[in-house]
């Protein structure tokens, strides 16, 4: 018994020591961390300034070698990045950090779905980047620039990429269904009207290869139609009009119709199940910004290489893209501004396109060889750069609002997807609007 208490006492003592020890260690680690960041921000130590970037999954500056290049040009700068794969995780944390002015990186990325809200509610906490030397409004697409500009004309984010939308289609499946395969001819089939696109789908279905669908998902179709509208969920005065805007209802009904006719798969984009339908060549078309080709490639079997082509969409629109912002409370505001200006300059955007498929938001890049000569493994010899450049220029200046994402998510995930599962379009609309209204209601 006595021996036993002794052992146990030793255990407890050990535990206590461990507690204090680890506590001390924790202290040390913190100090270490502090010193490192202090050293970097004050320019002490080795004389290098570390600029930290807060990004979500799809930016790819590092992968494109842009940090290395900038560090070479500016030997006193080091760039460290902080990446969260999913914007759904990244954005709420960013808002939290902005409202408390803490935990912010020197540069923070903002997705286009969130930019309106950031501009409206956090504008005061971000630097006006239009005043940074070398930044010229004229470099960017008009709509891209204005999306990140507050009412008092402060530009709080510089555009990185945009997602000019075309339509990607499988030439082999189109051929089997008796449709043309040449991009120009395909584009003509549905030029100017999404209803024509549905008619092509009906044609496709009559002779469709077994087990295939015309389009990948109802969400993809709805998104494509909506992004080609000037106004969708908000009007220019900032009012929510999604329920009364005939364009939204028309887009919804068109998608529901396609779903009822079995033209679209019963899938939600970017889910693992949707991925497998790419691998198994289950659909013939997908709304397609340049980055979608990367997605297709990542999920396809090797034999699908070169079987895709890109045609102009019935109406052009934009899907995706991001901005870089500089929080005013950062430690390296000036250096961060310089870096952002450099990263978003046309030359760098063109390089990013070549490596990452992120399409430039600066039209002057559209004549650079990286864009004009762009080809993609999925589309073989097809010259895709010019198609996307046309789409980018033709995209409407769309009114965006703070809760666009919530509304669109409601229309898609609590709306049109239900039609593919046997609900009537009316029921689906009701479920969607009920969900959205509840989510918008403060």
């Amino acid at each position: 018994m006595r021996a036993r208490t002794r052992t146990s006492r030793r255990v407890v003592v050990l535990a206590t020591v461990a507690t204090m020890g680890t506590g001390l260690l924790a202290g040390c680690a913190d100090d270490g961390g502090d010193k490192a960041s202090d050293g970097s921000s004050s320019g002490g130590g080795k004389g290098k300034t570390t600029i930290t970037m807060g990004l979500f999954g799809t930016m790819g500056f590092k992968e494109a070698g842009l940090y290395a290049e900038y560090e070479k040009l500016n030997p006193n700068i080091k760039i460290a990045e902080n990446v969260i794969e999913r914007n759904e995780n990244y954005y709420p944390a960013l808002v939290n950090h902005l409202t408390t002015n803490s935990g912010l990186q020197d540069v923070q990325a903002v997705e286009v779905a969130n930019i309106a809200e950031v501009v409206a509610t956090q504008g005061a906490k971000l630097q006006d980047l239009s005043k940074v030397s070398g930044v010229e409004k004229g470099n960017w697409l008009d709509w891209k620039w204005s999306q990140a500009t507050t009412k008092d004309s402060k530009t709080v984010g510089l555009g990185t990429d945009v997602g000019p939308m075309a339509l990607c289609y499988r030439t082999d499946l189109f051929q089997q269904a008796g449709l043309p395969t040449d991009p120009a001819e395909v584009g003509k089939l549905w030029a100017g009207d999404w209803n024509k696109f549905i008619s092509v789908g009906e044609q496709y279905k009559k002779k469709a290869p077994k087990g295939t669908f015309f389009m990948d998902s109802p969400g993809g179709l709805l998104n494509a139609v909506l992004s080609s509208e000037k106004e969708k969920f908000y009007d220019s005065s900032g009012e929510v009009i999604y329920k009364s805007n005939p364009a939204v209802k028309a887009a919804f009904d068109l998608t529901a119709k396609a779903a009822e006719q079995g033209l679209v798969q019963a899938q939600t984009q970017f889910q693992p199940a949707w991925d497998t339908t790419i691998a198994n060549s289950k659909f013939a078309t997908v709304a397609c910004p340049p980055w979608m080709l990367g997605t297709l490639k990542g999920k396809s079997k090797p034999e699908s290489l070169g079987k895709w082509a890109v045609a102009v969409a019935p109406k052009s629109g934009n899907w995706g893209g991001s901005f870089l912002a500089v929080p005013s409370s950062g430690k390296n505001v000036k250096e961060a501004e310089k870096l952002v200006a450099w990263l978003t300059a046309p030359e760098q955007q063109a390089k990013l396109f070549k490596v990452q498929g992120s399409f430039p938001s600066t039209p002057s890049a559209y004549t650079m060889p990286e864009v004009t000569g762009a080809k993609n493994e999925m589309t073989g010899d097809l010259n895709i750069g010019t198609i996307f450049a046309e789409a980018a220029k033709a995209a409407p200046v769309q009114v965006i609002g703070p809760k666009d994402q919530i509304i669109q998510q409601g229309l898609t995930d609590n709306g049109v997807i239900l039609v593919t599962k046997g609900k009537s379009p009316e029921e689906a609309w009701k479920t969607a609007t009920k969900t959205i209204d509840n989510n918008l209601d403060k």
Partner: protein, 334 residues
């Protein structure tokens, strides 16, 4: 620390100490009186000393958030400006009565809670019973069953999403062999709730089995022997000896699992991560924890979310009280 404690008092009261040895019986008495005074003080205050660290930490890191959310629940306040509050009184609470999504989530929490807790504890009980036999490699089984517990909810959910895939998931693939058609584990109500519950069950069954096993091994053997002498079958022994002896343990696991079940949120969130936090197209597996998360984090309505949190809290307390009263009645009657 222990040595400190005993060494300290004489030093403190050292002024009197040197005169002690020759002082004789009266001195000893005085000392005893002083000791007993100290002893009384110790008896009286030490309990507070023991619980105070917890409560101090609670004051610092638990109470402020509680009060803040309580205060926020009476306001209209958005995450984009958490200090900018507009008083709305009890509106955030009264609206819950008409909030179909809340009641839907409450129902789902209840059903998912039942689907995940009941089979989990029953299986754990059965497993514990089997593990209580003499077995080869018994440690191996025990460790293997505990392994899921070490897995994070995120990692577990990631894998189960793939396993539960409708078209090509391994579970449907296996079901196909027994002639069960493909099940849409994400969009059909009951399958999705079963799938979400499976993640919970997977992570916790082994742990509960070990707890039951421990309790079973603490049951005195003679209880079984006398039952056997009375001619009770193995099953009867289980019912009449094992279960009653396990009652306190069962109660503990039920309480902990119930509280856990009401707060389930990571599993349903990650089970359909691309649909945000709505818990499926028709909110078919949205739990209260997830609804709260959706209102607070995704929709950024801090005030509403706070009211939901407090309502959940109040419901739990009511459930707890009812539970307590019932179990008390049962105990009194038996």
């Amino acid at each position: 620390m222990a040595t400190h404690d005993t060494a300290a008092p004489p030093a403190k009261e050292g002024g009197a100490a040197p005169g002690r040895p020759p002082a004789g019986p009266t001195g000893a008495e005085r000392r005893r009186a002083r000791l007993s005074r100290r002893w009384q003080r110790d008896m009286r205050w030490s309990p507070y000393a023991f619980v105070s660290p917890f409560f101090l930490l609670f004051l610092a890191f638990g109470l402020f958030p509680l009060i803040y959310t309580g205060w926020a629940s009476l306001h209209q306040v958005e995450m984009t400006a958490p200090t900018d509050m507009h008083w709305v009184g009890l509106r955030n609470y009264t609206r819950i009565f008409d909030d179909d999504f809340f009641w839907n989530a409450a129902k789902n929490t209840l059903t998912i809670g039942i689907i995940s807790t009941v089979p989990q504890l029953l299986m754990a009980m059965g497993l514990a019973h089997i593990l209580n036999y003499k077995l080869r490699a018994s440690t191996f089984y025990r460790v293997a069953m505990l392994a899921p517990y070490a897995t994070s909810i995120a990692a577990a959910s990631l894998v189960f999403v793939l396993l539960f895939g409708r078209d090509y998931g391994m579970i449907n693939w296996a079901l196909d062999f027994v002639g069960i058609g493909p099940i849409d584990w994400q969009s059909d109500k009951w399958p999705s709730q079963i799938a979400v519950s499976t993640i919970v069950i997977w992570r916790w069954t082994g742990y509960n089995a070990l707890i039951y096993l421990a309790a079973m091994q603490a049951i005195p053997q003679d209880l079984y022997e006398s039952a056997a002498l009375d001619g009770a079958s193995r099953w009867k022994q289980f019912i009449h000896v094992t279960l009653p002896s396990l009652r306190p343990t069962i109660l503990f696991t039920v309480v902990v699992s119930t509280i856990g079940a009401t707060q389930v949120f990571g599993e349903p969130l990650l089970f359909d991560a691309n649909k945000g936090a709505s818990g499926g197209s028709e909110h078919q597996f949205q739990t209260l924890g997830l609804y709260l998360y959706e209102q607070g984090w995704v929709n950024q309505h801090l005030g509403r979310a706070s009211a939901i949190a407090w309502t959940m809290f109040l419901i739990l307390i009511v459930v707890g009280i009812v539970n307590y009263v019932i179990s008390r009645r049962l105990r009194a009657s038996s």
